[in-house]
């Protein structure tokens, strides 16, 4: 145990600024939500700052057709926020596939679904 404490001390001596993997924190429309009104763009908030050039998202419908309207963008004023423009969405379920590179070079990816309700 004494040696482990010594090793921990040595480790802490190499201290660098802590960062972490960029995971999805929350989104608008929310993950798994059912919307009465189709969104014109999606917003994804992450737990860490993103590298804009290597982070992005696509949106597909249940047939696998892409419904995003152009390239997703990391907000220049808030690098934890990603905007994804989408086409006019009809009723149905949609899947968002995102990938992220945090500023400390950790890669993450994920996906979730939301639904636009029939009116």
């Amino acid at each position: 145990m004494r040696s482990l404490i010594m090793a921990l001390t040595a480790t802490l001596a190499l201290t660098a600024p802590a960062s972490a993997h960029a995971f999805l924190d929350h989104a608008e429309p929310p993950v798994g939500s059912t919307m009465q009104k189709a969104p014109r763009s999606l917003s994804l908030w992450f737990t860490e700052d993103l590298e804009p050039a290597f982070s992005g998202a696509t949106v597909t419908d249940t047939q696998g057709h892409t419904v995003d309207a152009g390239k997703s963008q990391v907000d220049p004023h808030n690098r934890r926020l990603m905007h994804v423009p989408v086409k006019a969405l009809g009723p149905g379920s949609y899947r968002v596939n995102w990938h992220a590179l945090s500023v400390d070079t950790h890669r993450t990816e994920g996906n979730y679904a939301f639904t636009v309700e029939s009116r």
């Binding site: 040696s3 480790t11 802590a18 972490a20 993950v31 050039a53 950790h106 890669r107 990816e109 994920g110």
Partner: protein, 323 residues
């Protein structure tokens, strides 16, 4: 070189080597994050430090002893897919009618290789060779005089690839571990210092198996449905671990009875660390004399030191800049 210096030397070597490349560790497989489990290994090579892990329980001996263990384990990636770990445990044994025994158990190391990470199916598989170095610990706390080699296969599977209709069930995941402990010596000879009697004890080969069932609230929020729960609740992973040992060869002295524990508990996952606590429930009298407890602070070194200690020593995969 004495034992404390051997331990410190090994650990210092691992902590001071200068990383050369970029990093990608942590047990993240697609949408899924497998936390470091307290008893069975998680299925990923990683840069991490478990310090301390503290457990208290009654042993399965007769009479049962109160055992307190304080341990640490340091894991380091050499390449993105290959890593090593070193661990040590300090033990206190209080047996009724006997003096309290304290000391280190044998030093343990492991060489680990990431066989597979399948993001689509949230599946990970790791092979490892664990080595418990005989004679590096104190015999008074049960450290064996012989070295034991344990090849092990660890797997993890998340259920996020179930149909969307499965809903909240998709946040479940399981891990499994199967190892075969092979003593470096088939028998141990001991001499009673008082009578001079010689005793030969057969050292069994032991199947070590177990796993965990876990429910990831972080997964539920980020990949299934955001219920708007408080942040604290969204960081929890309720878990049940189980670990068993079954002697399968050279069992003349040990018998072939399976021992083990089932450990229900919970893990809180922070940005750069996790904290876990579990009950230790023995499956039979030979496995323990009461319900014990284990707690652990686990540090994600790849997140704490992303540009130094948290990177593989040798970079084998450039960042995919084409994504």
């Amino acid at each position: 070189m004495g034992r404390p210096w051997l331990r410190a030397g090994l650990l210092a070597l691992m902590t001071t080597l200068v990383p050369l490349g970029s990093a990608f560790a942590h047990c993240v497989v697609g949408n899924r994050f497998f936390p470091a489990t307290l008893n069975v290994d998680d299925p990923c090579v990683a840069d991490e430090l478990s310090l301390p892990t503290i457990s208290s329980f009654k042993t399965g001996d007769n009479p049962a002893a109160n055992e307190l263990d304080i341990s640490g384990e340091f894991s380091k990636t050499i390449t993105e897919d290959f890593g090593v770990s070193v661990g040590s445990t300090w033990t206190q044994l209080r047996t009724p009618g006997s003096p309290t025994a304290t000391g280190f158990k044998n030093l343990e190391t492991a060489f680990q290789y990431q066989l597979l990470k399948d993001p689509t199916h949230e599946f990970a598989m790791m092979a490892s060779l664990g080595i418990e170095w005989g004679g590096t610990g104190a015999s008074s706390v049960g450290a064996d005089p012989f070295t034991t080699y344990t090849p092990t296969l660890d797997v993890g599977k998340g259920f996020g690839d179930l149909p969307t209709e499965a809903g909240w069930l998709r946040a479940f995941a399981v891990t499994g571990s199967l190892g075969y402990a092979i003593p470096g010596s088939a028998s141990t000879t001991s001499v009673d210092p008082d009578t001079g009697d010689v005793t030969v004890t057969q050292n069994p080969r032991v199947l070590q198996w177990g796993g965990s069932l876990q429910y990831s609230m972080p997964y539920l929020k980020s990949a299934v449905v955001d219920l708007g729960l408080p942040d604290f609740a969204n960081q929890l992973i309720p878990i049940v671990e189980a670990q068993f040992s079954t002697p399968v060869a050279n069992t003349a002295d040990s018998g072939a009875k399976t021992t083990g524990t089932v450990n229900p508990g919970i893990i809180y996952v922070g940005d750069t660390y996790q904290v876990g606590v579990e009950a230790i429930v023995p499956i039979n009298r030979d496995s323990g004399g009461n319900i014990g407890v284990i707690g652990q602070l686990h540090l994600y070194l790849d997140d704490m030191f992303p540009k130094t200690l948290g990177r593989p020593l040798i970079d084998t995969s450039a960042i995919d800049k084409g994504r």
